[in-house]
Symmetry: C2
Subunit: 401 residues, 2 copies
């Protein structure tokens, strides 16, 4: 055999400088080929008609004669702030001015900026447990200590939170009251009243993450805490990632003007400002009603997917799982029956080409519990049927005898 004459690529040298310790990120299954991903709360971007969006980009670029390409206001494109304020008023009973809307890169940036704007190092933030770890990390990175508060069938245990608040100062509480992440339950009306009253009395900021407000299938959507309690108490965080597309990275905060000034100050040193081309294009799609039509259309589709997934799971895996159809959202919360190890099942499912998240991804200390979040947002009806078949095969593989 001839010796290789081409020089090998030079070995890359390790950095001469030190790296800081990095926060832990859960690996994402989203990009594996051939795997059907039961995404935690992701929507199906195949349902989007891209042509109106392409037209909106073109119109914004031409009509503004390039002014959208300049440096602009850190709080976002004025048209999008107005469009979001109008949407909140008409669909969520939340009456705020456009000057109380701050556009961010998805809700993650909203949480990150809010955290820095209201927290001092060592401040306590109460969080739902089980809950959304990406939000927790945003608070931790702003210096917060987290206080896990139990979630049950009525949502966050507000009485338990009130007892904690007697013992120590709590700066903020982070909640997902509409379809709790990950358990999908809705915070009860009593608890909403009690939570608002507690927050006012103790000076606790309520950070309300209403990430999939539109996807409610049983009766009208529940109005957000912010519409009941006002922006003096509630910092409302929303996103277009579910109702439009995650890739556009449009989130927003509706809050007191005082807070918005802080958000702008922190944003100046985080990413300076948003992208007014996409913000202007999305504003146009909201103004023309395109976004609202899209939501009505996909809500019906997601409802069909929810029903199909729940039915198929019961029919094929009723011996292994118990579940209730969620009133909204893009995922089913299921519990494994005795004799089924949910985490072993999840590992086997990946070998069979299905990815889903079990409870330990959502518990405060990573402890294992017999539950899983089974997302149906990204799967069409054929894929849902196939997914359940693969889950069943994987279940056989991990079940003795």
């Amino acid at each position: 055999m001839q010796p290789r004459l081409r020089p090998r690529r030079a070995e890359r040298e390790a950095p001469v400088y030190r790296l800081s310790s990095a926060p832990r990120v859960e690996p994402a299954a989203e990009h594996m080929t051939g795997v059907l991903v039961m995404g935690g709360s992701a929507p199906d971007t195949r349902l989007i008609d891209v042509e109106p969006l392409a037209r909106a980009y073109r119109r914004v670029l031409h009509d503004s004669r390039g002014s959208v390409l300049r440096y602009g206001d850190a709080a976002g494109h004025p048209r999008l702030r107005s469009a979001l304020a109008a949407m909140l008023a008409s669909t969520r009973g939340l009456t705020v001015g456009a000057d109380q809307i701050f556009v961010t890169r998805g809700s993650q940036m909203a949480l990150s900026l809010v955290a820095r704007s209201i927290l001092r190092r060592g401040d306590v933030v109460a969080v739902e447990a089980l809950g959304y770890r990406h939000a927790w990390q945003a608070f931790r990175l702003a210096g917060a200590r987290l206080l896990p508060v139990l979630v049950d069938a009525g949502g966050l245990d507000v009485a338990a939170l009130a007892r904690c608040a007697e013992q120590q100062r709590i700066a903020a509480v982070y909640v997902t009251p509409h379809h709790q992440f990950p358990t999908t339950v809705t915070l009860t009306q009593d608890r909403r009243q009690n939570l608002l009253e507690l927050a006012r009395r103790k000076g606790i900021a309520i950070i309300e993450d209403d990430y999939d407000h539109e996807f409610h299938y049983e009766g009208p959507s529940v109005m957000p805490l912010a519409s009941l309690g006002g922006t003096a108490t509630v910092i409302y965080v929303g996103t277009l990632s579910k109702i439009l597309a995650p890739g556009l990275r449009i989130g927003y905060v509706a809050a007191a003007a005082e807070l918005l000034e802080r958000l702008a100050a922190y944003r100046a040193f985080a990413d300076m400002q948003g992208d007014f081309v996409v913000e202007g294009a999305v504003a146009e799609l909201m103004e023309t009603g395109e976004v609202q039509r899209h939501v009505r259309r996909v809500r019906l589709e997601y409802r069909r997917r929810r029903d199909l997934l729940a039915d198929r799971l019961r029919a094929r895996l009723g011996h292994a799982l118990s579940l209730e159809r969620p009133s909204g959202g893009l995922a089913v919360w299921a519990s494994s029956r005795p004799g089924t190890d949910i985490d072993r099942w999840a590992a086997a499912a990946l070998d069979h080409g299905v990815a889903f998240q079990t409870a330990h991804t959502f518990t405060f200390s990573g402890e294992r519990l017999p539950h899983a979040r089974l997302g149906y947002g990204t799967l069409n009806e054929m894929e849902i049927v196939e997914t359940v078949e693969r889950l069943a095969a994987a279940h056989v593989a991990v079940t003795p005898g």
Copy 2:
């Protein structure tokens, strides 16, 4: 007079929660109407042909069949990472793989993520003084203590930095070697060698911000430190804000793969990921040579503007200012002559409809010095002539007798 019957808008309540102290942001003159802004380093977005961009948006949306709208890789769109790597190799002598490119929201996010990825609380970061305050804040917000190091006609005083490095551990040094911000000077070759040698010996990360590499008018551009020293020592930060448009918010880091993993981890909790629609569209404009043609065209234009501004300033204000034509960039660094108070002049200029920044915006402790940065990037030739006339009128207004 009839009493007003319409109810007044309810007074907004102040938040029940506390706000953290916010970092100070310099007010921007960019948005005042009727004011000619000598932007510190902003380009003229009126020179952009928006049609190719609109077409690129459309093509990316259609060709990807919406897959650009999904969640994706925090490091950026693969096509853009490849296009940036190819550009760095062909124009800057910087040979890195696409896997060493991390796309960010402008260079500000690049600096913010780099700061978090390499700094522990209390670490020392050496910075140019005079220098770029937005970068300093990114380091401070990551917990750094800043060490100002003098800049002279040869750029950063590397010998002074070396002396400091004997006394204390320095984690990183932030430099703008090509056209130093704000003084426009170029770091000499000797100092480049010494800086790289010092960094290797002491384990100091060099953060090189090459924000306007393409706009060099006298001879070839100076190759970046990163091309000389490699990514084991230099963390290279670039942006398309100047060569394309600030509003698109495309920045990037070229660095060791180990660092890129950290950037991704911190980004997960800052804004999750970028916008693959704009990233894909810009990649297309780079692949087709559109960006490169735009750069060649505007470089000639900016050179004309530089020459015109320097000539007009000398002709009309030679008694008040001394200056040298910069070899590159989008601004002139000028010094006021004795008898002219530059800060009073700047205040008067604003009354006459011209905004420019004086040295105190760039000094480490805000001290006043008799210099100013006069940007010509955003002003066409007619506007430059008018700007200098207004500056002259303002100068008369603040000059006794």
